[in-house]
Structure formats: C-alpha cells, structure tokens
Symmetry: C2
Subunit: 205 residues, 2 copies
C-alpha cells in the first residue's frame, strides 16, 4: 500500500524515531525493540508498532527490529534517503547560526545558499557561504531547483519573503519569524519560536 493517507501526527513521529535509531547506531547497537525505543522516547511500545505498521512490516517476532534496516526504511518513507538543498533567508544571528549548523549532516538536509537584503551583508561570508542579494532570491532559487527554505528575517518581512519563495517554487518552509504565514495549500510550513516552547512550560511552574 503506497499511500493510504497516513495521519500527519504519525508522520510527525517518524523523524523522532529516526533520530533515536541513528543515536543507537552511534552507540554501536544493532537491534532494538518497540519497548526499548518507547522507553527512550516516552512513547508506548504499542504506538510505535502501530505507527510503523502503517508503512510495512519492518520487525521480526521474538527479536525486534534491525536498527540499520528500520532507519533505512524510515529514511525512504520521509524522502530523506536523498539530500535536500535548503535556502536560508536572513543572515542575522539566527540565519547565520542555521547556515553553519553541523546537525544537518547525514540527516538528508544541506544548506546551499543564504540571502539578505542589507548591502553591508551581501557579499560577506557566513561560514563557507557568500551572502546573496535577496533581490535575486527568485532567480537563484529557481535556477538551483531548491524546494526547501528557512525564513530567519524580522517578522515584518516574513510574509513577503514567503510569497517570493512560493513563486520561486519552494514547497516547504521552516519559519523562525514569530508570525503565522499564509501560503497556498500545496506548500508545507513549520514554525520554530523558542518563546512558544518556553511559555508552554511556564504554565506548569
């Protein structure tokens, strides 16, 4: 069954499973079980088995899952058995940190370009990248065939940037600006706002 409309909440857990599996591999582990994985992640074993069963049968009764094999299967499901090029828009503190971030390696992502609109930044170096002029955003992204972008501009510019990204063909946006974006429904948006996470915790303090 290639695609029987999997709940998005299940898709959301797959990257978590994958990250844990890659961590286990780094610890030189080769086999795991839904129970062990669940304990590490604070998720029930039944839920992990149910989630995985949406996509196929990846385990063996009695022994569990081959970590290598399961990781590879999840990578294929998530389309991260390839490497996605990412454009970063905004070369301030956050954009620069993200462009230099080492954590994309081996996880199917790589930053390939970074844009800003400030003359003082255009042409300067951020890590190994030369900051590009945001005026060329659409043509550069189109030429590069880039489908994934991260917005790290001030809130006021974020929607405008998003509109340009869409017309350049971007289909997935990770938005660091603390504002909701309006996009066409063939485009995915995810949000990272540390304050949202922090406020969610202070309720309990």
């Amino acid at each position: 069954m290639p695609d029987k409309n999997i709940p998005d909440i299940v898709i959301g857990r797959l990257p978590i499973y994958l990250r844990a599996l890659q961590r286990m591999l780094a610890e030189n582990r080769h086999v795991t079980s839904s129970q062990e994985l669940g304990e590490r992640l604070g998720i029930s074993a039944a839920q992990i088995r149910k989630d995985l069963s949406q996509f196929g049968e990846f385990g063996k009764q009695g022994t569990g899952y081959s970590i290598d094999y399961l990781a590879e299967q999840i990578r294929q499901i998530l389309n991260v058995d390839q490497v996605w090029d990412i454009a970063v828009v905004g070369a301030g503190d956050i954009g620069s940190a993200v462009a230099r971030y080492q954590g994309f390696a081996n996880r199917g992502m790589q930053v390939t370009m970074i844009f800003d609109n400030a003359p003082s930044k255009i042409g300067s170096k951020v890590g190994s990248f030369t900051v590009k002029d945001i005026a060329n955003l659409e043509s550069d992204i189109k030429r590069g065939g880039v489908k994934v972008a991260m917005i790290a501009t001030p809130s006021e510019k974020a929607q405008e940037v998003a509109d340009k990204l869409l017309s350049a063909g971007v289909k997935a946006i990770l938005n660091y600006a603390p504002i909701n974006l309006t996009v066409t429904d063939d485009v995915r948006v995810q949000y990272i706002d540390p304050v949202i996470h922090l406020q969610r915790m202070t309720y309990y303090l």
Copy 2:
C-alpha cells in the same frame, strides 16, 4: 475553578493565541472574534472558544473578545505576566544567537546568563553578556534562582548539562541538542531540532 487538569494540548495552543493577539495589538486592533482568530491560525473557531472556556469567560456575546483583556488573561494563565530569567548553556553559534535574540522582549522571558566550557570563550562577550565558566553553573544558577534554561551544547554533553541544571533547581529546559533528555518528572522539557521539522515536511514532497 483554578486548576481542573487542563489537557496539555490546550496549554500548547495558548502561546499561539497570545502571539496572534499581540500581533493584532501591534496592528492597532482592539476587538476580535473566535472566527477571525481561527482564520488567522488555521484553527476552528469552536476549538478556540472551547480552549478558552477551560479558564473562564473572556468574551462578550455579539461582540467577541477585547484583545487587550484576552491577552492579559492568557498571560496570567501561562505565568508570563512576570519575566522569567533564562540561563543559556553553550556559547556556540546557536547559544550565541539565542542569547542575542530580540524576540523575548514583552513575552515574559529574558536571558540573564550564558555558560561555556571552552577557556577561549569563558570571559568573552556574547551580546551584552560575559560568558561564564560552566564549572560554576550550579552555584551561579542557584544564586540567581533561575528556573528556566536552554541547552545549546553538542549532543554528547546535553544529558550531563541537564543533570547539573536539575540539581541547580531548574524546572524547565528547552533543548536545542538533537537528543532526548531523561529528567525527573517535576521538570518540563521541550525540544527544538530544525531537522525534525524539515523531515516532517519532506514526506509530502
């Protein structure tokens, strides 16, 4: 009813509502409705009314919600009508970006200290902060009465840092290291890993 065990998923939406309300205020708006808010956020009006009704009656039939008043109520619920001091651990790209981040202002959070273990960084400046020695983490955090921290260290150090934070009395941790933390259950943890968000989107591409 001060506390009838509100679902965590409801708590998780309150910061989103608050952010949208503050945005509306910045646009000089003074009244809104569950319908308008829902359209902006992609959430049903019924859900917003249901969520809010868990905490009290904040609206007026026929006219909707006073944005100012509702924002203030949500701030009180989330305990962000005060300002929480935050300790940042790790003065690399991410820790430095977070320490300098302007987005905490008026949202109940402020960074007050940043730590690292590298002699080359200790004593140097990150924004207006002088990087402190991680060796003094426990005593500095205890003395400051800090309850909220962000971890921006390499994955290998994150659990060790978390342990120290707990013994220093920290009760809420926002973890940027791509690894699951184990903590006692009086402590809240939230995670930010851009790759998790990106992989969640590439499934659909």
